[in-house]
């Protein structure tokens, strides 16, 4: 294809030049696509997403076993739950199955969704009902404790 009109060396005719231009452009596009994939592959998780600390209350105001909701600036509701042993977690209160609200059951040591009996353990991992079948955990926000104050790390988009 390329060497048809190219008897006098690379790029010496219009056809030869166009052939090389097409080849270089095509290969360049391939290389750029590949490079994009490789960059995405190599970037550590969370790269480029910024986080903001959101004050969600005092640790002392959250007795062991209790749970109370807070909302992020983007309007998502999370359950702040004190699991005891200084472990506090924040899970999204929306069931990943069909969107009902889950709540913490201290007696059963689990998060429970009353709609279809979905249940999640302390780590938010599905242990019963449709979420277990679909292996869909609860979404979680990281928390920080600073001088007795609780902060959720909320991604800024």
């Amino acid at each position: 294809m390329v060497d048809d009109g190219n008897k006098g060396g690379a790029g010496s005719t219009r056809r030869g030049f166009l052939g090389w231009a097409a080849l270089v452009t095509g290969l360049g596009a391939c290389a750029a696509t590949g490079a994009g994939m490789i960059v995405r592959y190599l970037l550590p998780p969370g790269w480029g997403t910024r986080q903001q600390r959101l004050y969600v209350g005092q640790l002392s105001e959250l007795p062991v076993g209790s749970s109370r909701p807070f909302s992020t600036p983007s309007g998502q509701r999370y359950l702040l739950t004190n699991l005891g042993d200084d472990v506090v977690v924040a899970f999204n209160d929306t069931c990943p199955h069909l969107g009902c609200k889950v709540h913490w059951e201290q007696a059963n040591d689990r998060f429970f969704c009353p709609c279809h009996g979905g249940a999640f353990d302390k780590q938010g991992a599905p242990i019963a009902g449709p979420p277990k079948d679909e292996n869909t955990p609860l979404k979680q926000l990281a928390l920080e404790v600073d001088g007795g104050a609780l902060y959720a790390l909320v991604p800024i988009t």
Partner: protein, 359 residues
């Protein structure tokens, strides 16, 4: 200083790297390539080389996330496959282009063998090439063990015991390879080092020697009846650049498309995690070791190791054996007959083993 300024960037560079770069490139690019290389069948060595480059690139990328520890290896492969963006794609590319490389190397060996291209003065390049084949197989074996699935672990166990059965050096070699009496954490780090350190170094050395010798001898010439010839009856040649370069570019792009399609249809998956306490019911090696597996089942361990060693030596030193035969009987075409028998035996044993494993 002023002189340099006058010559721009090219001059600056030339002063610091005083090599005739342009002349060298022109020299390399204008190497005459025989007309028969326009046929795809004659570009299998280049095909294997391109797939090796794919292996190097994807391999380096995979090693960013792989952890060579029995407690973490399987999970890190799972992480690459299921969580890292495009990880599944890079891993599938690595897997399928390795299979493609084995196929290309085997076909290249067959092409060289049946056309007698290994004959004087190219005997040593055949020997180098046969070590490239062995290194390729070693890459496949060590790479598969790194995944740390059930078959990785038990494949390494069987290979260790095979090595142990070799006469004299067997047990010592096996223990050295495994880093102990059985497959342990030591084995995994050793295989990892072999796969990403020693074998690539050896392979680069062998490839450079292979290419240098090809260039020094020139590509062996073959004449087809339909090929154009000049007035002296010599075959037509064409320059490496751009003609043969473009052929290789087309092969490279074609291979990437093919391997991508195969990766999309059959992405590299994960079987059960390795469990040293439970041997799976059916253990099998990679398909290119099927024939050795069949032979092993047919003649027993000791006999298999000894005969395979003998066969490998005959294979590696075949150009010299063939040369000795042809000095006595110049018209001997023994190599072709022997080659056909060899290919049939290996194919039958591979298909046989595949059939047995499937039923």
């Amino acid at each position: 200083m002023n002189e340099e300024r006058g010559q721009g960037l090219g001059g600056w560079f030339k002063a610091r790297v005083p090599l005739p770069a342009t002349e060298m490139l022109t020299e390399m690019g204008s190497e005459p390539v025989p007309g028969h290389l326009k046929r795809w069948w004659w570009c299998l060595g280049g095909t294997a080389a391109i797939l090796f480059v794919v292996q190097v690139v994807t391999g380096i990328l995979l090693s960013f996330y792989y952890v060579p520890d029995p407690d973490a290896a399987y999970e890190s492969v799972q992480h690459i496959t299921e969580e890292v963006p495009f990880g599944w794609y890079l891993r599938s590319l690595h897997k399928w282009s390795s299979n493609g490389m084995v196929v290309a190397v085997i076909l290249h060996v067959m092409r060289v063998f049946f056309t007698g291209a290994y004959r004087k003065p190219r005997e040593l390049n055949w020997v180098i090439g046969s070590f490239i084949l062995v290194t390729t197989m070693a890459f496949g074996f060590t790479g598969y063990s790194l995944v740390y699935e059930q078959l990785s672990y038990w494949g390494a166990t069987v290979a260790g015991n095979l090595t142990e059965a070799a006469p004299l050096v067997g047990p010592a070699l096996a223990n050295f390879m495994r880093g102990g009496e059985t497959v342990t954490a030591n084995t995994l780090t050793r295989f990892h080092m072999l796969h990403i350190g020693l074998l690539p170094t050896v392979m680069f050395g062998l490839l450079i020697a292979h290419f240098v010798l090809i260039r020094a001898h020139g590509v062996s010439e073959f004449h087809f009846r339909r090929d154009e010839r000049d007035s002296e009856g010599k075959g037509k040649t064409y320059p490496f650049f751009p003609d043969h370069f473009l052929t290789e570019v087309i092969i490279g792009v074609g291979l990437l498309i093919t391997v991508t399609c195969v990766s999309l249809i059959f992405p590299a998956g994960l079987e059960e995690k390795a469990n040293p306490l439970v041997t799976p019911e059916h253990i099998k090696p990679e398909w290119y070791f099927y024939w050795t597996f069949r032979w092993l089942k047919m003649v027993g361990l000791k006999m298999a190791v000894v005969t395979l060693g003998l066969a490998a030596s005959v294979f590696i030193f075949w150009p010299f054996i063939d040369g000795a035969i042809r000095r006595r009987r110049p018209d001997s075409e023994l190599s072709v007959g022997l080659g056909i028998v060899g290919v049939i035996i290996l194919t039958v044993m591979t298909v046989w083993e595949a059939w047995v494993l499937a039923h």
